[in-house]
Symmetry: C2
Subunit: 413 residues, 2 copies
């Protein structure tokens, strides 16, 4: 609906990224400019903050701190994993949301997250419409996993991909200094989509990458894995770098990670390992070579010091475009990125109906995976390389990043 | 000896760092300027490259690539862990070294490494002297562990410390996004010296650090650890970040890491865990909270993209000073850093006899550790903060670091 006048609220949901706060900055800075938006609220811990009436008055924040949010990793407002029940099953949350929206005259709702969060956003959008309550609802995409349907890519992916490629290049140099053998098995996030693991191929493009890359898109076979590693070791003086997704599955569809041990250490306590650690141990036992398992762990999603400038700017743009679209009267949509045709990389934010984004999963096209199943084609490089361009990070203060410091003044009514 | 004319050879030894190649660049660029130095050789894999007559002609390298070495992590020439026997026990290696030195007219020997490497350097220095072969020998310090005796600090430490502090700040933000509890146990390198683990305190200085820090300098007690974590969890809504050194030991002097399990996974293969993973599992079992074990692994020593400018420049200076000292006639010494008195941080490279550096170990002063044994005092911050200042990294090419590419032309005679 056009010319809606009232407050806006923005929430962050799901796992954080290096640039999720850049989208928040985009929403806030744009919303503060819009004359139809009376108040700008930031929900603490996403939808839960709205249900519990816990949100911050963004109008009280300093512009310089909002600008610094672009370079501050993680969800500054707090995040949440909260699945809204279907309205038919339990209308409690929906009625409560409507109550809060009315109380604070919230006419613009922006929600930032991945597929689960877009499901939430979609449900709220449909409910508000059905209730006859005028509220423009726009989803803002976010996920390092890059698995949202419809969009060329997701804010957050470029920076995580840049972290993985850069760090892999550094590890490649480090792991090769001795003349003795070493097999490194590096575990990367990404659940059922191999986009992040595929980013290892960007380091290969610089000849400092991985010998073997295993995506969840290709069924994983331990015997083939050992045979692959053995082949590399024979060619390369017992040196091999293998990158595996946490989400690799056997051909029966069982996560390889589920095979990791739950055993006890010498103190008698349960001990669990990741997929990478498990595979490294199998290599050690089967091939008798030195191994090292490395997990990129939380670092791959929060290393804002290594963010991609393109990603930081696009994440900001996704947020500010959401506000502009909503103020133009759009609702029930998610911002997506449309790559423009031509040699030069140009991205345009456009809209897609929310229900198309909810609960979908986009995986790496099988034709971008090399026939032997352990590498990526040139098409993937062409796709991913523009997303990791440039540096953009927080200024230094005492040699350390100066992240945003929000006042976080509670809204009350 | 002054006015020695002949070739020089430089070797890298021990575990690599983010800035070890900056010292190499310092040696090479300075040596190429010196008119008494006829040829500049870089030994492949340290002392082993000399024994096997495998070294590169640095005179053949482009200056721009030598400059890029400043920002290229890991040992570009290859490293080695090779312990020279005592001459009395086995003179073979010594006689071979002398043979190679004579064949290539090597009159300057520079060796870059930590305490073990300085032992090698010291032995060679004494042997050449006793053999009556004129050769100026200077050691160049290097170790992320910062445990070399005599020097204010070691090249490599500042960058690793900056990585640890910056990454901890980012993880601190990431680990706090959900309203639910999470105990992170982060494992840091450093063997018997807690310098690297102590760097976590630099993030505390920015209020985004660790709740608990465990150095090897303080005997480790699992029950106290659990009680410490429990205390933090009670105060902070089940949120706690603990940073532990890989080298923590029980009061009986046994490495806590030795207690990790060697058990089998569901494939029947041996499975080993690190100290951090083990402690995280104990916390999970004892306190029933969600835990995450994070290892900074190789990244802490090779993350050149996050190097400290001070460290990069000092590492370079350590190398170039070594050459200038040797050309001035100094020998049988190691370059050390002397911090100048006064408010402003000024470092001066001076010399110390090699035998003082060999096989020694400098640990964190106990008076810099807080009484409860889980934090660092202001004195440590004052010591370490100047070492992590500024950024210095490789230029970007396609969004990824453009590391040095050496031609590596073999020397022959």
């Amino acid at each position: 609906m056009k010319n809606l006048k009232g407050a806006c609220i923005f929430g962050q949901s799901g796992g954080p990224t290096s640039v999720i706060n850049s989208s928040a900055a985009g929403v806030f800075i744009e919303a503060l400019k819009q004359k139809n938006i009376t108040n700008v609220y930031g929900a603490a811990h996403g939808i839960r903050g709205i249900l519990e009436e816990k949100f911050y008055l963004i109008n009280e924040e300093d512009t310089t701190e909002l600008e610094l949010m672009k370079y501050t990793p993680s969800s500054a407002l707090g995040s949440v994993r909260y699945k809204l029940k279907n309205f038919e099953d339990d209308p409690t949350d929906y009625n409560r949301l409507l109550e809060v929206f009315k109380k604070y005259d919230i006419r613009y709702f922006f929600y930032n997250g991945g597929n689960d969060s877009m499901d939430t956003c979609n449900k709220i959008s449909k409910f508000m419409k059905n209730s006859g309550y005028d509220c423009n609802v726009i989803g803002v995409p976010k996920t390092i996993d890059n698995d949202l349907f419809g969009t060329d890519h997701c804010p957050g992916y470029g920076s995580a991909a840049k972290y993985i490629a850069t760090t892999l290049m550094e590890i490649n140099l480090d792991a090769s200094v001795y003349d003795t053998g070493l097999v490194c098995v590096i575990e990367v996030m990404g659940r059922n989509a191999g986009w992040l693991t595929a980013a290892a191929a960007l380091a290969n493009y610089k000849n400092l990458g991985a010998d073997l890359i295993y995506l969840p898109e290709v069924p994983f076979d331990v015997d083939k894995f050992i045979s692959d590693v053995k082949g590399v070791c024979e060619r390369k003086n017992n040196k091999c770098i293998a990158v595996v997704s946490e989400g690799i599955k056997t051909k029966e569809g069982k996560y390889v990670g589920e095979f990791t041990a739950s055993t006890t250490d010498l103190f008698g306590h349960a001990q669990l390992g990741g997929v990478g650690a498990m595979l490294a141990n199998i290599v050690k036992e089967k091939l008798g070579v030195k191994t090292r398992a490395i997990e990129f762990s939380l670092m791959q999603r929060c290393a804002a010091h290594l963010a991609s400038k393109v990603d930081v700017e696009e994440a900001f743009e996704a947020g500010s475009a959401a506000v502009r679209f909503a103020c133009d009267g759009e609702t029930d949509q998610m911002v997506i990125f449309e790559r423009q045709k031509g040699d030069k990389y140009v991205m345009k934010p456009v809209l897609m109906p929310l229900e198309k984004a909810a609960n979908t999963e986009k995986t790496v096209p099988l034709e971008w995976i090399t026939p032997e199943g352990t590498g990526l084609t040139e098409d993937f490089i062409k796709y991913a390389l523009p997303l990791i361009q440039g540096d953009a990070k927080a200024p230094l203060e005492d040699g350390l990043p100066r992240f945003a410091r929000l006042k976080k003044v509670w809204a009350t009514k």
